[in-house]
Symmetry: C2
């Protein structure tokens, strides 16, 4: 008989894990404490979702699970080939992501989640919503999951599984239960930032320049970088944009004390959004929408020895959204786990241990890179020095091909290079760039000094 698996959490990573295991013949039950998002339209309102950018790692993982499903799932995605920087005067500047037109792809979180659930319905996997994990009893044989009772529920609340996959996000209940069994190193860190979800509607008439009802170019990730805070916008297939404001907690608390303050703030700092956003709606969202926090989570190990349980996605490595890698990394978790299960002929015990040992350095690298990228998005993209170094980076990449690859390219477009390897190579490249910069400055100083001396002599 095939092994039974409980996947806890029907978010993006949980759905993909369930799909992958189900395709491999495991007897999968997918649990979530929420109701089925496809039925409950009120939940689908994006009060707190940042649009997703799916890139190479995410797409490769989807393909590795099911090529056909991947094509169906990703048909609505919108390629974004670069960042569009909006300055204070409303001017726009395109900064391409790759040298060869590589793109990351905007996709709406709930659209993607629902499509994954639809694909899952085609398999033997069972979906159980409204099931909140309360406790896991760890035994040598089966792992016994206790789910908190729902008032109107008649389903049995205790079920046994061969193993458990925890995909229940940053505040994972599975992880808490694992910590009662395993000595787990763990850290959580809150950023001094809040985010608020805003919205740019589709234009009423189609705009020829963008080939649809988009108010601004859909093939870019739009950024209004203002150093301590920023606004971003990612296109949806219906012509609208999901937009997000990020700023320090104190600033937001100060702002939302009055509607006029918010209005003035928006008009002053993002003058061009007045043309594309309903300003009153934006003000209302600022005041009334939840101000979401951003948390980073790291832990180690990710498994309970004996192949009893493993953590994937945000439950293992919640990260800030500034590298667009949260979901991509979670999907890659699934691909790597499935590869290890295959390598160890389905022996969970060995596969989970190897996963914990080999995956950690990559997960630490990408959570760290994501944290650093807030400064890049909100500040560096406006700095001349950063742009110069970026051009040099691209030049070397053209000249040296595989021997020099820009960091963003390695992270977003090269799933064959692990996150830790990418970080390591990038640090080496940065050292070289900095050295060359100093050298250039040195040569320039000497030359100007000589020139100055020459001119002085001429004059006298």
């Amino acid at each position: 008989m095939s092994e039974s698996v409980a996947v806890i959490g029907a978010g993006l990573v949980g759905c993909l894990a369930a799909l992958a295991l189900s395709k491999e013949g495991y007897q999968v039950t997918l649990y979530d404490f929420r109701h089925d998002p496809r039925l409950d339209t009120t939940q689908n309102k994006n009060l707190k979702s940042i649009n997703l950018a799916i890139s190479a790692r995410g797409i490769d993982a989807l393909k590795s699970v099911d090529f056909g499903a991947c094509e169906r799932i990703l048909q609505d995605m919108i390629p974004m080939k670069g960042r569009m920087i909006h300055d204070l005067r409303g001017e726009q500047e395109s900064q391409l992501y790759g040298l060869h037109g590589e793109a990351i792809n905007s996709i709406n979180r709930s659209v993607l989640n629902n499509k994954l659930l639809d694909e899952l319905e085609k398999t033997t996997a069972e979906l159980k919503f409204g099931h909140k994990l309360a406790r896991i009893e760890w035994t040598d044989d089966k792992q016994i999951c206790h789910f908190a009772a729902e008032e109107d529920s008649k389903v049995p609340n205790i079920e046994k599984f061969d193993f458990i996959i925890g995909c229940d996000g940053a505040y994972s209940a599975t992880r808490s239960q694992m910590q009662r069994k395993v000595e787990m190193d763990y850290s959580q860190e809150y950023m001094d930032l809040r985010y608020i979800e805003l919205y740019i509607p589709a234009t009423k008439v189609s705009k020829q320049e963008y080939g649809g009802n988009f108010a601004i170019a859909p093939d870019h990730l739009h950024i209004w970088p203002r150093h301590r805070f920023m606004l971003i916008a990612l296109a949806n297939s219906d012509g609208s944009f999901t937009s997000t404001f990020f700023g320090p907690k104190d600033q937001i608390s100060d702002l939302i004390t009055s509607e006029s303050r918010v209005k003035n703030f928006l008009v002053e700092n993002f003058p061009d959004i007045v043309n594309i956003m309903d300003l009153d709606d934006a003000v209302k969202r600022f005041i009334t929408y939840p101000k979401e926090s951003l948390v980073c989570v790291n832990c180690k190990p990710y498994d309970v020895p004996g192949g009893k349980a493993i953590l994937l996605g945000d439950a293992a490595h919640a990260m800030v959204p500034f590298y667009g890698q949260g979901m991509n990394c979670g999907f890659e978790d699934v691909r790597i786990l499935m590869e290890l299960l295959k390598k160890h002929s389905g022996d969970c015990s060995s596969a989970f241990v190897e996963y914990s040992q080999t995956r950690h350095k990559d997960l630490v690298s990408i959570t760290e890179l994501a944290k650093r990228n807030y400064k890049e998005m909100s500040h560096d993209v406006t700095s001349k020095r950063f742009l110069f170094r970026r051009k040099l980076d691209a030049l070397f990449s053209v000249m040296m091909r595989e021997k020099w690859i820009p960091l963003y390219t390695m992270v977003s477009f090269r799933s064959d290079i692990s996150y830790s390897k990418a970080l390591e190579r990038a640090e080496k490249q940065t050292r070289i760039l900095k050295f060359l910069e100093s050298l250039a400055i040195g040569i320039l100083s000497v030359s100007s000094f000589k020139l100055f001396k020459f001119l002085a002599r001429e004059r006298s």
Copy 2:
């Protein structure tokens, strides 16, 4: 009416906090999930206690709470003026802690805990044992504590307080409840070490050289440093020593597979303990006693805004025992909190916030120092270079007095220098020592080169 306080945890720090608050007129109730340790003799067996070393910060905090009580409480402590290093041949070498005979003081954990409870009985504080904190309801007015029911208990299980002091150790239930209310940065890290409690009995006849029934010098902290593992021993007032073995997890798991392996290991590595320890008892403890883990905890902030709750001691900063500062730092927490309450005229809200803001850097410093000190105790103390640098350190200290103070002195004997200041000053001093070392090596090389040339010339 005076404010009501729940102190959660009747360990060392909880008792001192309850004593301090009670003396200041607060209406204190002290809770612990265990039974009264003074009644329950089976609990008092030191299966997992490392003897304590109380030093300046701990003593000053006790004195600040109650000078008389401090004298009563500390009457059984045994001063230790240095480390006694035992080498593989059984030879002993004394390394003094201070230049002026300063000493840290060995005291048995349960003796100290019971004496603190006795002092507390003299105040208006209420003691409630067998009360396990299950949940805290945070309200704008009172904080409502729910305690899990004990079968034979008829006490009410829900009680309200103005504020809560969480002193319930590394696995604090108070902290978990606070994390539901506050965005708390948090980290826990397990060391790759286990410890096992051993025992050196008092000698049958009094030994003149040590003035009592001590088998080895009571005025030293004994260390058998063996690089990857070590044994330590601290004297008790009855002539016995509490001894602790520390070693890597894997090593211990390997060892305890057979009694003869443990026996051989002990005789080989600690040849002189055969004379002072019951070897069969030690082997039995190795095999049957719990192998305790060592965890480091850091968090931030330590309080729930509005003066609702605060964490002290291990609940806020569990550290490894290698600097002998766990309890001392926890006691200092109490002193500093009481000073801040006085400064803010009893306004908890302001006092707790200031505590969180100002105490963090010190707590981070001492948890880090404690971690580093394992290498010093188990390895460095046998290194010639370390001992040379230590002598230089002492020499500078004599020459420059207040301008140069060895780190150990600042941490253990100078409660007027904060942990963070101590660490900062020590890092500067180490940089100077290292520079002087390089300089000396440089001068020596040049001189020997010249000497060599001179000799070569003479010869030819």
